[in-house]
Amino acid sequence: MSAPSAAPILRIRDLQAFYGESHVLHGVDLDVAEGEVVTLLGRNGSGRTSTLKSILGLVGRRTGSIQVGGQETVGMAPHRIARLGIGVGYCPEERGIFASLTTEENLQLLPRIGAAGMPDAEIYDMFPNLLERRRSQGTRLSGGEQQMLAMARILRAGARLLLLDEITEGLAPVIVQALGRVVQQLKERGYTIVLVEQNFRFAAPLADRHYLLEHGRVVDTIEAGQLSGRMESLQEFLGV
């Protein structure tokens, strides 16, 4: 699956992104084939979140090329990007759970965006806490539960390309492990995943490829197979 020979489902070339006057991405290139898991690694402020936001059209302005399933999306409105063939699902860094909605309303809010929405039974099987807490206000959930809700709602909507921004941030080790199992399951089911992570130990066993970002550019690419030989320089790069 990891051979980048297949036509990429996500193809980014010379992506530049701006928030108002500030120019934050200076030419990002990356390819993700269907069914692959890739990570974006980098220090804080290196442009990982901005790359995900650019894919969805959530930055102020972007130039270059971002193709999703072969379709150019620079210049497309965010709601149309989400609904492109494959279905693009986004877990924002701040999780984006709506406080004025219950857990169940948060879960059911998203319109169907892909052909293959995950049925509720499977959702609750994967995230049992959400069933127990379905009547609670969304932001009353624990951090881990909110993260599960943020994942669950895009799966239910039918997204098959998942953009996950630091889903393990600030969570207890058992919950991080549970999320690791979820991502592993999704990978086995053929979901395509772009993972932004600080927690390299979480990301390493899941990913097919790692993109290293610095100052809004991709400065290096490491295939999963080359990882063991590159550990030292990688740790230095990430400052861990």
Binding site: L56, G57, L58, A77, P78, H79, I81, A82, R83, Y90, P92, G96, F98, A99, S100, L101, E105, Q108, L109, L110, P111, I113, R153, I154, A157
Partner: protein, 288 residues
């Protein structure tokens, strides 16, 4: 004594019903679009005038006007949102305020030019003439109708917003429209429909008001000042708050008119000042 008090309270309740309908629309619009809709009073007047013109020139009666007039006013709202307000998104909300304020001046100026300053009466529909003798007071049917329908519409809107999937979109959009759009929801269309709906509510209130107050080009501009005070007291953007505060302010006004008539016109603004000092976010607003 009791008759005078209950008379004033009834008047207060009726005014309060209009405050509720109007501030509800303002709150919905402000919540989602972040636009302080200063044209709301003019759109209320437009609703009343369309009903009056329909009757005068086309023989369209009250009941049809109650349906058609809000639809027409709402449709003009769709156009205003699409053509003007959408361009101001992302700018300071002062721009939206100024635009809608200008729009109000234009609409009211046009009607003033065409119809002059004097009021035109609008007949109470046949079905709602007469009233009930409650023993301690006389309750005209039409006034009872206004209170019941306004409350029904207000509470119905509240229910839809708080308890249904359509309302969930509105609530989510009010919190974070960009994220909602990234989830595949056509937020620009939602903005347009929401503005149209809020404005249609104003038009509806205008038709309801036509048989009670005179239909004049300036009928909205005097009312809207009080309605903005209601919105500030209740808390910008709170739906239930705007309904409860609307009714409450009407009653407080009525009660003041009974106790100390000279103070009735300012009591609302005194109340507003006090609320701003004690709870700047409003009675029902979330404290930041």
């Amino acid at each position: 004594m009791i008759q005078a008090l209950s008379g004033q309270l009834l008047l207060g309740l009726i005014n309060g019903s209009f405050y509720a309908l109007l501030s509800l629309g303002l709150a919905i619009i402000f919540g989602l679009l972040d636009v302080v809709n200063f044209a709301h009073g003019a759109q209320y007047m437009l609703g009343a005038f369309l009903a009056w013109m329909g009757l005068q020139y086309l023989g369209i009666g009250y009941w049809w006007a109650l349906l058609l007039s809000p639809l027409v006013v709402g449709a003009t709202g769709l156009v205003v949102e699409r053509v003007f307000l959408r361009r101001l998104q992302g700018l300071d909300n002062l721009y939206g305020l100024l635009l809608t304020f200008g729009l109000a001046l234009v609409i009211e100026g046009l009607f003033h030019h065409a119809f002059g300053n004097s009021g035109s009466p609008y007949p109470v529909p046949e079905l709602l003439r007469g009233g009930f003798d409650l023993g301690f007071m006389y309750l005209p049917k039409y006034r009872a109708w206004v209170v019941v329908v306004s409350l029904g519409i207000s509470l119905g809107s509240w229910f839809v917003i708080e308890k249904t999937p359509i309302g969930a979109y509105l609530r989510a959009g009010t919190e974070n429209p960009r994220l909602l759009q990234a989830f595949g929801v056509n937020v620009p269309v939602m903005f347009m429909l929401t503005y149209g709906f809020g404005v249609a509510l104003a038009g509806f209130a205008g038709v309801m008001a036509a048989p009670i107050y005179q239909v004049t080009p300036m009928m909205g501009s005097s009312l809207i000042m009080v309605v903005f005070a209601v919105v500030v007291i209740g808390g910008m953007g709170s739906i239930l708050g705007s309904i409860v505060t609307g009714i409450g302010v009407g009653l407080v006004e009525g009660f003041t008119k009974f106790l100390w008539p000279e103070a009735a016109n300012v009591v609302v603004f005194v109340l507003m000042a006090v609320v701003l000092l004690v709870r700047p976010a409003g009675l029902f607003g979330r404290q930041k």
